[in-house]
């Protein structure tokens, strides 16, 4: 694995016009087995997203996803490139004017040269119009939607071989005037029908959350936010945790949680923790890359689990085991976290609260 700040010529898309990001040119990074059009790994992520979603060459998914790719979401895994093709077509039929606007790609070399993978954490805020009926969003509302998604992709030889996808679906539903709790209840009712073994993935993932964190070198920029998450969700030392943040840090969490300061971050963390008893947190992947102006971008993929025994935001306590898959993007400056953008699918959390997904 190379250093987190190796290859400084592989630039973040932050602060760059799209024309610059997508400019053609010679390769800047060793990418064995990748199509010649891709100059570096950031270019691969940004350009293939553009080719598939905006140029509508959806069939490229068959050469850009592994045949056996597993896409992990909090609604369950989907398997295979054909599932990706069909899902992409369905999404674009619902919102064909979708602009998939890449905000950042925070990536790591996880031993590519030794048979490992390149890993990207791609933060996207899509802009689209709800033009067609959708299982989640309901009948076409012709309202604008703009929500943040983070797609973590493990890649080798031009293909995404494993993906973790988190999307702010609670916000998407409210943007079209829908009722997320009603959607969650409807889905949960369907989940309780049929072969319950199909929800076995969730129990396995919950068990895994109580395992060890991924390796996090002390000198890696991710060590700071990782320690923050551990201090909060493992040790319940929220004041100590929040000391990693600037006193005026900006915090954006799902479902339009938006505020500033250490106290606000503690509020977000304790809100979840008050709902989930016997909680466990696991940090599953880290990446970091330089940003303009000397800042550093850090991506953490993490999971949180616990038993819903606290009344409050999610209604009366249900006693159900809840799983949260989250990705956080942090901006570090001067040894502090100045921005925390965290995404998890709170609609899928409500689905579990309502007794779905095997909960």
């Amino acid at each position: 694995m190379s250093g987190w700040d190796a290859l400084p010529e592989v630039l973040s898309p932050v602060g760059r016009p799209l024309a610059d990001v997508l400019a053609m040119g010679p390769r800047r990074q060793a990418l064995p087995g990748f199509e010649p059009v891709y100059r570096d790994f950031v270019d691969y992520i940004m350009r293939c997203t553009h080719r598939i979603w905006e140029e509508k060459n959806i069939g490229l998914c068959r050469t850009h996803y592994g045949a056996d790719v597993v896409m992990h979401t909090l609604n369950g895994p989907s398997c295979g490139a054909e599932a990706v093709v069909q899902g992409t077509i369905g999404s674009l039929a619902m919102s064909s004017d979708r602009q998939v606007i890449g905000e950042d790609v925070i990536w790591s070399d996880d031993g590519l040269a030794d048979g490992g993978r390149l890993y990207s954490s791609h933060r996207i805020t899509s802009q689209m119009t709800h033009m067609g009926d959708d299982a989640m969003l309901g009948a076409a509302s012709w309202r604008g939607i703009g929500v943040t998604t983070i797609a973590d992709c493990a890649c080798r030889e031009n293909r995404i071989v494993e993906e973790w996808l988190v999307r702010d679906n609670w916000r998407a539903v409210v943007q079209v005037g829908g009722d997320p709790w009603a959607v969650a209840q409807r889905w949960a009712a369907a989940d309780r029908e049929g072969d319950q073994a199909r929800h076995g993935w969730r129990a396995a993932d919950i068990a895994a959350v109580r395992g060890a964190d991924c390796e996090i070198p002390e000198v890696h920029p991710a060590a700071l936010p990782a320690a923050m998450l551990r201090a909060a969700f493992r040790d319940d030392q929220y004041g100590d945790a929040a000391a990693a943040l600037s006193p005026a840090a900006e915090v954006r969490w799902p479902s339009n949680r938006h505020g500033f300061g250490r106290g606000y971050w503690i509020g977000c963390a304790t809100q979840l923790r008050s709902l989930l008893h016997d909680a466990a947190v696991r940090i599953e992947h880290i990446a970091a890359r330089p940003l303009p102006h000397g800042d550093t971008a850090v991506a953490l993929r993490w999971s949180l689990t616990g038993v819903h025994r606290g009344p409050g935001l999610w209604g009366p306590a249900t006693g159900r085991e809840i799983l949260i898959l989250a990705v956080s993007h942090y901006r570090l400056r001067g040894g502090s976290i100045v921005e925390d953008v965290t995404v998890f699918d709170e609609l899928a959390v409500l689905r579990q609260v309502a007794g779905g997904l095997g909960a």
């Binding site: 805020t125 300061g261 606000y264």
Partner: protein
């Protein structure tokens, strides 16, 4: 004329990055197309405009409003518009209960100079003084100003604040609003967002 002047005046070719976010009165607008459209529909009259600029940020004060921009080689990467009369409809949001101070020794302005490399050391007092003025609001029981952006020196500078507050009265309705200040030898100019209804949910199920 800077790119921000062009954008604020409603120009269609303003240098706005594709992944730019505009926040105005708690309403988000994302992407260059939507942002340029938003300013085209509601431009700022720039007759009395005052601007404070450096390589990485610019602030524009005009007609009772303020616009702050993060710059990347002249491109606008992030925007805040403060004091707009009708920014649009707030989305529903999950409300978060929190303590802004973490101590009985109450802070007023939450500020770390290290967050703002383009702010000269002698300007910190200006930033804090403007922040204290901003939160001196009888409509608020408890207001705290978080310094979001700040640049300049003691003679000329600007700062952008996020103000968390609780309403004065029996029901302490929470709020988050932006405010902006610029200063010169003559004093401060301060702009605040208009009060808006805070649509926060404390329960989203059950």
């Amino acid at each position: 004329m800077t790119g921000l002047h062009a954008l604020a005046g409603g120009a269609r070719d303003a240098p706005v990055l594709g992944a730019c976010r505009l926040e105005s009165g708690g309403v988000d607008v994302f992407g260059s197309e939507a942002i340029i459209d938003a300013f085209r529909r509601a431009p700022l009259p720039l007759d009395d405009a005052v601007s404070v600029e450096n390589a990485r940020g610019v602030a524009l004060f005009a007609s009772g409003e303020a616009v702050f921009a993060d710059l990347y080689d002249g491109y606008i990467g992030r925007l805040w518009r403060v004091g707009q009369a009708d920014p649009g409809t707030l989305e529903p949001a999950v409300g978060v209960a929190f303590d802004p101070d973490l101590a009985q020794a109450r802070a007023t302005v939450l500020f770390a100079a290290s967050d703002h490399p383009d702010l000269a050391a002698d300007a910190a007092a200006r930033v804090e003084a403007a922040g204290r003025t901003i939160i001196d609001d009888p409509a608020q029981f408890r207001a705290r100003a978080c310094v979001v952006r700040a640049f300049g020196d003691a003679t000329t500078g600007a700062a952008l604040y996020a103000v968390h507050g609780l309403a004065a009265g029996v029901v302490r309705t929470p709020s988050l609003a932006m405010a902006a200040a610029c200063w010169n030898d003559e004093g401060f100019r301060i702009v605040r967002d208009h009060p808006s209804a805070h649509v926060a949910h404390v329960r989203i199920a059950g």
